[in-house]
């Protein structure tokens, strides 16, 4: 058996099918993955993301530390509570993990990293934090809920004390703050508006039940995966890992090469790739034109340019057709073929996201 979040018994009570995810026993779906997906696109759903690893970083030199550690530039974080998405790179420019970092005070930043990479991330962060005198604290005392969908913020605000609701609803996109002992952030991984809430573990079950009473659907990791894929968001271990760099993973926008003087781990190899004319491969979206379902590791054939591979694929409940991410030769454009069980099916190359705020962006 794997590790369990404070909500594990409740998931079982609610009839969830439990699967292993990065060493954790997590709900993949309750009654219907497609119904859960639509609940988030059309109203509101709640996900248990307590398996993700919250790490507090404290010390007077914490900003300088993160400036050296992360490919994106924490110098961009000027307002307390503001969040930034970044890759954590190794010296070769490979992606150790992707994470969200919150600027809380000049001596206190918080990062949230993936469950499956927790141990190596913590080891890497601690190894580099020592030189900056930064204290690294894993917040295993917290649970985390993601409440997502067009109705999510209005309903989730009902969990808060009346005096805190207005402040929660006033949070700008990608900003979080402490409210009544909970950390409430307007972030997510679905392409919809919503909150991610970090709260004491003991408060998680009552909060979840209250959300259900407010009409927020319990949603599993299955729906989370189809939602993030439609939203054009990468999943660590699929779109990128230590053998790929952010430039060939659709994440060039998260690599801050300005200012030129900021020496971060992995910078030199990325600059060398840029200087040599850019990466040989790129990450694209695919929209299957024939019937079938694109899946990770299927081969992509690009006329005149070579071959690529699907990194994540699924049936899109919103578009009612199959979509995917694929890593393909840089020259790829227009149309490709995908080998599905020996049959060559046609797919259009598109720029993700496929869906944002409930609307299709590709058809």
């Amino acid at each position: 058996m794997g590790r369990k979040t404070p909500l594990f018994a409740l998931h079982q009570e609610l009839g969830a099918r439990i699967v292993d995810f990065g060493g954790w026993d997590m709900p993949v779906q309750y009654a219907s993955q497609i119904a859960e997906h639509h609940a988030v696109r059309r109203a509101a759903g709640v996900f248990d993301v307590s398996h993700m690893c919250v790490v507090d970083l404290e010390g007077p030199r914490v900003r300088a530390f993160l400036g050296a550690l992360l490919a994106n530039d924490v110098g961009r974080l000027k307002t307390p509570g503001k969040a930034l998405y970044s890759c954590l790179l190794n010296e070769r420019g490979g992606v150790i993990d992707d994470l969200i970092v919150y600027f809380l005070t000049e001596s206190f930043f918080r990062v949230v990293v993936n469950a499956g990479t927790r141990d190596k991330d913590l080891a890497w962060i601690r190894r580099h934090a020592a030189a900056y005198g930064v204290a690294v604290t894993e917040r295993t005392d917290l649970a985390m809920l993601a409440i997502q969908g067009p109705e999510a913020r209005a309903r989730a605000a009902q969990l808060l004390a009346a005096a805190d609701r207005e402040a929660a609803l006033a949070l700008p996109v990608f900003v979080g703050r402490e409210l009544g002992g909970w950390f409430v952030a307007r972030t997510g991984y679905t392409g919809e508006d919503g909150f991610e809430i970090m709260l004491p573990a003991a408060a998680a079950v009552p909060a979840w039940r209250h959300l259900n009473e407010l009409g927020v659907a319990s949603c599993g990791l299955g729906a989370r995966d189809t939602l993030r894929l439609e939203a054009g968001m990468n999943l660590y271990g699929h779109e990128m890992d230590e053998s790929t760099d952010p430039l060939e993973s659709g994440l060039a926008w998260t690599v801050a090469l300005e200012p030129p003087g900021r020496a971060f781990i992995g910078r030199a190899p990325l600059e060398a790739i840029r200087a040599a004319g850019g990466p040989a491969r790129k990450l694209v979206g695919l929209l299957l034109e024939d019937r079938g379902v694109l899946r990770s590791h299927q081969k992509v054939l690009v006329a005149g340019a070579g071959e690529g591979e699907i990194t994540s694929g699924t049936f899109s409940p919103t578009l009612e057709r199959s979509i995917a991410f694929a890593r393909v030769p840089a020259a790829t454009a227009g149309r490709v073929q995908v080998d599905i069980r020996g049959k060559l099916l046609n797919a259009a190359v598109v720029k993700p996201p496929f869906v944002r705020n409930g609307q299709s962006l590709v058809t």
Partner: protein
Amino acid sequence: MSNVPADLKYTKSHEWVRTLADGSVEIGITDHAQHALGDLVFVEVPEAGRAVKADEACAVVESVKAASDVYAPLAGEITAGNPKLADAPETVNSDPYGEGWLMRMKPAAGAVAAAGLISAADYQKVLEAEGA
């Protein structure tokens, strides 16, 4: 509790087999199987005229999450793949023993006896052994 009709034969790999009046057989996946797979979004059925061996993968059912093979419970020749499933794969979820059938086939000589199909009661035991 899964629905296991008493008048059908089963395989341990969760297919059901119905013998039709003309001696051909209709094949689908069980209620337990459709429930375990979740919402089906794509079904690939074999074409009429294809000869299949027992235990040969001959259809594919795909849920949002994964693709799963369906195996021929016995040897024979495919006489039809269910044409409705191309547009309505969810029929396998809603009516696994009826409109959601996958294929029909004409068994090879002696194939039904050789297939080792099990009764509804024995299939129920298989499910219990799997903790279903």
